[in-house]
Amino acid sequence: MLDTLLSPKEKLKIKIAARDLSFFYGDHQALFANNLEIPENRITAVIGPSGCGKSTHLRIYNRIFELYRDQRAEGEVLIDGVNILDRNVDVLELRRKVGMIFQRPTPFPMSVFDNVAYGMRLHFKLRKSEIAERVEGALRGASLWEEVKDKLNGSGIALSGGQQQRLCIARTIAAEPDILLLDEPTSAIDPVATLKIEELLLSLRKRFTIVIVTHNMQQASRISDFTAFFYKGRIVEHDTTTRIFTNPSNKKTEEYITGRFG
């Protein structure tokens, strides 16, 4: 499907492919046999009104929904060609490979250093010096190093909201994932901190495949390469972000992004 969205010169590798993906909260069906292809090293924005299923869709990619009772996904999610909904998939390894950042910053009640080191200690056996090296690398990668290098032993919770969110991004990328899932990562922080996160995501695009759920239309149009519009559990339109925001092909998409509903 993605091939039809791209110019002939732009052949992108598909990192994630959802096939006939449905989702249920108990008896309630929230997603309906959706198909979506997410290209590698690009930012894909997922937009739609509240309750349309965009966060639900995102939460399937690292099977985080399995932490809750009575929730189940049907269909397939292929990451690098492997169906991650298969029972044999190592979920811990999946969640390392597919990192997630949430709406509200979730720093652990420990030092800045330990917040970042936490994930890598969980996944890798490393010497102290290697951990210190990787912590610095992750903090630099999250554009936070210069602001915290002199207070690595200070509490992560003492940082500002925007810094806490970048700390969470540092903690996630320290585990060396392939994919970053972000569920409204800037809705709880101020506009300046938001711009820093957006700049950060644009720089991280070279290393990671990024999927971001956002209610902020301007954010989706500023930073994403592709946009998928969800409505009532279905993907209404998936196209290049430029096309979605200048000339969407579906009337419902147009009505949503121009603020006529939602």
């Binding site: 149009s221 925001f245 200048t246 000339n247 969407p248 121009t258 603020g259």
Partner: protein, 246 residues
């Protein structure tokens, strides 16, 4: 819903059509003044352009305000961009009308020795109808009418070319006509450019409605090739303008 945004959009709409009405009126009066050799009226009309320039800037500032405050997307974005572009075209038409006023002398075009290659009054009528149709296409979101305007432009180009190529032969036969014919040629050039502006507005209508940029790609327009605003028989020089599509 965004009631404030739509209020702003309606205000843009009103200003744009007001400007279009004033430009069309000015063009109509300028052409009449030229044909009558009425230099006093022509001079008065040149002052009208100052008001058109002022309106253009005010409308552009309103568009920039809407873009900055509301960051419209999709159809709303295309609308504001279209208003900006049509606004610029209307201002340009105002300038071209000033050029026509500048060509007005007491020697009337009717004093030229026949035969002329084109009935000049009919040419001005056709260009004015093209402009009117492009504004109607904009206000009624009528893509077909916009496409008709675009198709008509080549015929106005032909008429202007016919005037230009007739010039050396005419002044050789009637050297006393040279000043009036030169003025007529200048007006013909201005009319040809006004037709281009009307065509640009029509292209903007197609962009507004479909998101397609058809500039430089008129071959892709569907429909029959016959222009709507054309002389009935290009060969005999008679220029009877067809009734505009109602």
């Amino acid at each position: 819903m965004k009631p404030h945004f739509y209020k702003e959009i309606r205000a843009l709409d009103r200003r744009l059509y007001q400007q279009a009405v004033e430009v069309e009126e000015m063009l109509g009066c300028v052409v009449i003044a030229f044909l009558k050799g009425d230099t006093q009226s022509a001079a008065r009309l040149i002052e009208k352009d100052t008001e058109i320039d002022r309106n253009e800037i005010a409308l552009e500032e309103e568009c920039l305000k809407v873009l900055a405050l509301y960051q419209p997307v999709a159809g709303d974005l295309r609308y504001v961009i279209t208003v900006l572009k049509v606004n610029a075209e209307l201002e340009r038409i105002g300038d071209l009308a000033v050029d026509i006023a500048g060509f007005t002398t007491e020697s009337k075009p009717a004093s030229l020795q026949p035969p002329l290659p084109v009935d000049f009054e009919s040419m001005t009528g056709a260009v004015r109808r093209m402009l009117d149709a492009s504004i109607k296409a904009l206000s009624s979101h009528n893509v077909q009418l916009a496409a008709d305007v675009i198709k008509s432009d080549c015929r106005i180009d032909e008429l202007h070319e016919r005037f230009s190529s007739h010039f050396p032969e005419h002044v050789r036969q009637f050297p006393e006509d040279i000043a009036v014919f030169q003025a007529l040629l200048g007006v013909s050039r201005s009319l040809e450019r006004i037709a281009d502006c009307a065509t640009n507005i029509a292209e903007d209508v197609i962009y507004l409605e479909s998101g397609r940029i058809v500039r430089h790609a008129h071959g892709c327009l569907s429909g029959e090739e016959t222009p709507v605003f054309q002389p009935s028989d290009p060969e005999d020089g008679a220029f009877s303008v067809q009734d505009e599509q109602k």
